[in-house]
Amino acid sequence: MSLLAGQILNGIATGMLYALMGLGLSLITGILNIPNFAHGALFAVGAYLLATAVNVLGNFWIGLVVAPLGVALLGLAIEYAGIRRLYAAGHDYQLLFTFGLSLILAEGIILVWGPVGISHLPPEILRGGVDLGFTFYPKYRLFVMVAAGLLVFLTWLFLEKTRYGAIMRAGIENKEMVSLLGIDIHLLFTVAFALGAWLAGIAGALTAPIRGLSPGMGVDMLGIAFVVVALGGLGNLLGAIAAGLLIGVAQAIVAAYWTEASTVVIYAVMAGVLLVRPQGLFGIR
């Protein structure tokens, strides 16, 4: 029983990271209507920027703020200089652009940080574990669970309770209408992409001490992020959060009893849900 409880805890921590990734991707896909294949690479850049920021500034907490902001700026530049020119083009052009961008970013990581993986330890205060009674659990994972949960909540709050959040949600529903109301739709697209990139960056930064850094680290996460978006419902933010948690917990529980299937379960859950609800858990289209 304690094993199962521990695994569920693992699942929630991992699921929160999946939710952060899925939320960012869902925002970009929902508002900009483009498949962002560079989302995994942005996640990797976030992790590498954190390591560099911590090395240069000597403080994990400042690094955790600075690194995702760096990724958001990168996202801003990508949207402004690249994607903006492709809105009129078809999906295949956008797909090729973001896919090419993911390769460029991965190669860029190799050029800047080298091809060999790097370990990045959690800050001193979060090293080691705590006895929760039913299991011994790493402090850093508990921190990730709380921090990612808080970020997901704040993002949801921003989107649900602020005026600009409402505009963004309206943008997902009907871009033309938002534009007709006199709202700068280009600015909306740029902000949405930068916010999505920021979420990927912070997921990467939080993951760095758990999974370490390697140039290909974004590839695994990209696949999972797309599963989260498909499972939650395209453009559905609450769905992305629920789907992230569902996949994380499913993966953890299956790993407790049938370790060989721990990767396959991600896709099995997606296939199962989509067979019953093709529009995803919370999707309406």
């Binding site: 094993l3 695994q7 659990y137 999974r211 370490g212 390697s214 290909g216 953890a252 790993a255």
Partner: protein, 405 residues
């Protein structure tokens, strides 16, 4: 000026058609000896392929890209860490480039498929990896195994670890779920029996796994004296990191039973390496003249010392070239016969290719990582604490008859 007649056009057309359909293999036969390096640039071992390529190139360049007085044409293909891609591209390189000698790939499961191509196409195939089947149940005349037998590895690791930690009798295994993992797991359990080791858990994980928290949680619940990983590359690094994050190491020893050595150790912070024991086919401080020379040249070029991946490619290529020298021919069958029974004193020390199984009989190494304070420099990861070369006992040998050409 004379004009083309219909007959001339037909003649030229026929000539062009003949030339273009001429098998490329005949064109390549002129002088060059074509050797294929099948190294992954994509897929799970994308990070290893470039290192293999470095090692192989160095071995060829040592001989000025020549053998038997003829130029060597080194061609490479990306196997994508996939059996389908690797076999297709091997066949293409054999047919189109005229490659009769294949070195690689890196994954055991994929190499077994490539070995079947080598058998069918009758080309020499050298491989280094953890599956016992290349020189075991699926042995044949064309494939050779450079890495130590999984039995040699297991015996070296288990015997010497138990000598240093006689009370560590409860072992939990984390095993990569493919040919290599299964082979090493089998022999670790066999050798473990002789020490009275109790295997309290053995979980298999998919190749390319990065989320190890679930496995580590299970391992911790079994309250082991030691955790043993039978996995490789990114999997081993991710596993070791998570085992540390969960506080199992350095309190408990962790064994990486079949490691690439430097390439994995450099990815782990010194804190994570504490109480880490590492079994490997090569480590850069191995005290042999060939290793010293190789390590010096490699570091001069690439800064980091070589781990198992470039070293295996380097030594396999040297073994193949030694086969050419001994055969004094590039005829496939002559080279195979020359490789059978070949003896070399190479980077790992004395090596001999068993003619009956095509398994290289050679030393395997057990390292103990150093605590941060004991490291003399940042690359001073570990000491070689034991070397073992116990060959596979006859009762386990699955290669009963290597067969004919």
């Amino acid at each position: 000026m004379s004009q083309f007649k219909r007959r001339d056009v037909l003649k030229i057309g026929a000539l062009a058609a003949t030339a273009s359909s001429f098998p490329a293999i005949l064109r390549a036969q002129s002088k060059e000896i074509v050797i294929l390096g099948l190294w992954d640039q994509t897929g799970a071992f994308a990070d290893v392929g470039p290192l293999n390529d470095r090692g192989m190139k160095m071995a060829l360049e040592e001989r000025d890209m020549k053998i038997l007085g003829r130029p060597i044409k080194y061609v490479t293909r990306d196997g994508g860490t996939q059996a389908g891609t690797s076999t297709r591209r091997t066949e293409e390189a054999v047919d189109a480039e005229g490659a009769k000698f294949v070195v690689g790939p890196w994954s055991s499961g994929v190499a077994l498929a490539v070995s079947e191509v080598a058998k069918r196409k009758k080309v020499v195939h050298l491989f280094s990896g953890g599956t016992e089947d290349i020189s075991g149940s699926r042995c044949h005349r064309y494939s050779f195994q450079w890495a130590a037998s999984p039995y040699t590895a297991a015996k070296t690791v288990v015997d010497n670890f138990m000598k240093a930690n006689p009370k560590a009798k409860r072992w939990h295994l984390l095993v990569a779920d493919y040919a290599f993992g299964w082979s090493v797991e089998k022999y670790i359990k066999e050798v473990g029996k002789t020490h009275g080791i109790e295997f309290v858990g053995a979980d298999r994980h998919p190749l390319g796994e990065r989320e190890f928290s679930n496995y580590v949680q299970k391992a911790a619940a079994n309250k082991p004296d030691v955790v043993v990983m039978i996995n490789f590359g990114g999997d081993a690094v991710a596993g070791a990191r998570e085992i540390f994050n969960f506080g199992l190491t350095p309190k408990l020893p962790l064994i990486m039973s079949w490691s690439s050595g430097v390439e994995e150790l450099v990815q782990l912070a010194p804190e994570i390496r504490e109480n880490l024991w590492v079994g490997t086919n090569f480590y850069y401080t191995v005290d042999t003249p060939a290793a010293k020379n190789f390590v010096k040249n490699y570091q001069a070029k690439f800064k980091l010392p070589p781990g198992y991946a470039p070293s295996a490619a380097y030594s396999m290529t040297r073994m193949l070239l030694a086969g050419f020298d001994k055969a004094k021919s590039d005829d496939v069958q002559a080279v195979v016969k020359a490789l059978e029974g070949l003896e070399m004193n190479d980077i790992v020390g004395p090596m001999r290719v068993d003619g009956a199984t095509h398994q290289t009989l050679r030393p395997y190494f057990l390292l103990r990582c150093k605590a941060k304070g004991a490291m003399k420099h940042e690359l001073d990861f570990a000491d070689v604490v034991a070397t073992g070369d116990a060959p596979l006992p006859k009762e386990y040998a699955a290669c009963k008859d290597i067969g004919s050409f």
